[in-house]
Symmetry: C2
Subunit: 137 residues, 2 copies
Amino acid sequence: MSADLPTPATDRYFEDYPPGVAVEYGPIAVTEAEILDFARRYDPQPFHLDPARAAAGPFGGLVASGWHTASLMMRVLVDRFLSRVASLGSPGVDELRWLAPVRPDDALTVRVTVLTARRLRSKPDRGLIQSQQEVFN
Amino acid sequence: MSADLPTPATDRYFEDYPPGVAVEYGPIAVTEAEILDFARRYDPQPFHLDPARAAAGPFGGLVASGWHTASLMMRVLVDRFLSRVASLGSPGVDELRWLAPVRPDDALTVRVTVLTARRLRSKPDRGLIQSQQEVFN
C-alpha cells in the first residue's frame, strides 16, 4: 500500500494507473455540522438530519447520508488521485454499498485500488480506468 | 405513469411499493450557482467548477458533478417517494450511470420504478424495495 501514486497529479496519464496499484488517503474528518448541512440540502431523513430523532431511529444515532459519504470520497479522489491534466470524467459506478454507518467525529480513510485499465476501441486516444474505493473509519 | 403513489408518504409501508409501480417527480431546477457550490465542496474538477475552463473541456461547458445529480435525485426521493414512517435506509446502489451531462438551467425529471419487493428472510418484520431511478432533462 503506497501513500500516493509515484507520478505527481499534474503529470498523470493512462499509463500511471496500472492495475493492482493501491493507495490510501486520509484521514477525512466527519463533523456533525457537515452531516446536518448535507442532509438539509440533499437527504433530509430524520437519521441524517435530527440528532434526537436519529437516536431513536434504526442507526441509534445520527449518521451521514450515503451520498455524503460518496461525495467525501470523491473529494479525496479529486484532490489526490485523479490526473489534473488528463481526466475526462467517469461514466458511472458499477456498485455502491453502504456497509457501515458514518457518524460524527469519524476519521475516514479511502483506499483506492486500480482494478483494470483498457484503451477504448471506439476512441483509441483514451482509456478507461476502473478502480475500487473502500472507505473505512 | 402516476404523478405520485396513492398512499400518502406519512402512511406508506412495504405493501405500498408494489413492483411495476412508476411515478415521476419534477421539475428540479439546476442552477449554475448550485453546481459551483457542490463542486467547490465535493468535486472541484474544472468542468464542474470553472465555467471558462469547462468551456474548453471535454463537455464543452460547465456540467454538474455526477454526485450532485445523484444528490438532487435523492432529495426528490426523500420529499416525495420514501415513507415518512417506515423507511430504514438503503444498503446501496446496484448500478449508477451518468449517461448525459447535467447543465445549468436544466429542469430535471426523476422517474422512479419499483422493480422488486421482498421480505427479508433474516429479518421477517421488514422488506427490501429495489427501485430504479431515471433522471432526465
